[in-house]
Amino acid sequence: MLHQQLPWYIGGPVLGLCVVAVRLLLNERLGATGAFSEVVERLGRRSLAFDWRGWLFFGLVAGGLLFVALNGGPAFEGYGWLTDTFTGATAIIIAPILIVAGALIGFGAKAAGGCTSGNGLSGNAMASPSSLAATATFFGTGIVVSFVIQAVI
C-alpha cells in the first residue's frame, strides 16, 4: 500500500509544515540534531526528564516504526553503496565505516549548529546567514565525497 515512493511535491511540503508547526506551537527551531543531543545529554546525567526535543526524537523513531506497521516491512534493504560494495566476509568493515561517518555527522552537526533539518530547513527558513552558509557547505562536501567514493569503488 505504502510501497510507492511519496512524490516530492507531497513529502517536501509536509516536512516544511512540520518546521512551521514547531515555530507556531513552541516558537522553536525544529532540528533532528538537537533532538539527538537532548537525549544524549539527558541520559548522560542519568535523567529521563526529556524536554520537547527528546520527544521529537522519539517521534522520529515512532514514524519509522509506524511505516513498518502500515507497510509490513522497512522502506528499503541493505545500506546503500556500503552493502553493495562490501559483501560476504568484507561486510564486517561496514560497521567501523558507519561509526566513523556517524561521529563526523554528530560532531559536525553540533559544531555547525544543526544538520539537514536544523540548518537546511529551519535555519534557512529563518533567513539565518549562518544556516545558509552551513547548508551550502555540507551539500558541497557531500556532493564531492559522493563523487570521490564513486571514483574509488
Binding site: 517536501g12 516544511g16 518546521v19 508547526a21 539527538f36 517521534g59 519509522g64 555527522i105 552537526a109 562536501t141
Partner: protein
C-alpha cells in the same frame, strides 16, 4: 508540548521513510545528480518552511502552546560552524544518512543504523566534552569571574 513534539516527530519520520529518504541509496543518487528527487524534495520542503516561517515572523503571534511571541535571532557564519558543516557533509555522503533519517531507520529496525547511531552519539559526546573544556578555559582566562559563553 511533549505530545505535540512527538506527533510532529512522527509525521516527520513517517514522511522521510515513505519518501525513501531513509534509504542511503536514495541520498547517494541525489548527491551524485543521478536522481532529481532529493533536490526537488528539499526545495519543496524549504519553500514551504520559508514561506510559513516568514509569515509567522511578520505576524508575530503568540506561540500556541508556550504563549511566547514568535520571534528569533539569527547568527553569522564563522569558522567553527563552517568546519562543522564540512565534516557533517562528509559523514552524510559516506553513511548516506543524516540524524532525522537515522532515527527513522532505527524505528524501521534497520540493523546497520545501530552503528551509525553509535557514531552520532560518540560525535555529540566528543563535541560536548570539547565545549566544556573550552568554556572552562575561557572562564580561567577571564580570571574565573566571568563565565564566557565561548562556544555553544
Amino acid at each position: 508540548m511533549k505530545l505535540a513534539a512527538a506527533i510532529v516527530g512522527a509525521v516527520f519520520g513517517i514522511t522521510l521513510t515513505w519518501s525513501g529518504l531513509t534509504d542511503p541509496a536514495v541520498i547517494r543518487a541525489g548527491l551524485l545528480f543521478e536522481q532529481s528527487y532529493l533536490f526537488l524534495f528539499f526545495a519543496a520542503a524549504l519553500g514551504v518552511a520559508f514561506a510559513g516561517t516568514q509569515i509567522l515572523g511578520r505576524l508575530r503571534p503568540r506561540a500556541l502552546l508556550t504563549g511566547e511571541r514568535v520571534e528569533w535571532t539569527t547568527e553569522s557564519p564563522d569558522r567553527r560552524r563552517l568546519g562543522g558543516a564540512a565534516l557533517f557533509g562528509i559523514g552524510w555522503a559516506v553513511a548516506g544518512a543524516c540524524p532525522g533519517p537515522i532515527a527513522a531507520q532505527l524505528g524501521q529496525g534497520v540493523g546497520w543504523s545501530l552503528f551509525t547511531l553509535a557514531g552520532v552519539v560518540i560525535g555529540i559526546v566528543l563535541y560536548l566534552r570539547l565545549q566544556r573544556r573550552d568554556r572552562a578555559a575561557a572562564g580561567e582566562a577571564a580570571g574565573g569571574r566571568l563565565a564566557q559563553p565561548a562556544a555553544r
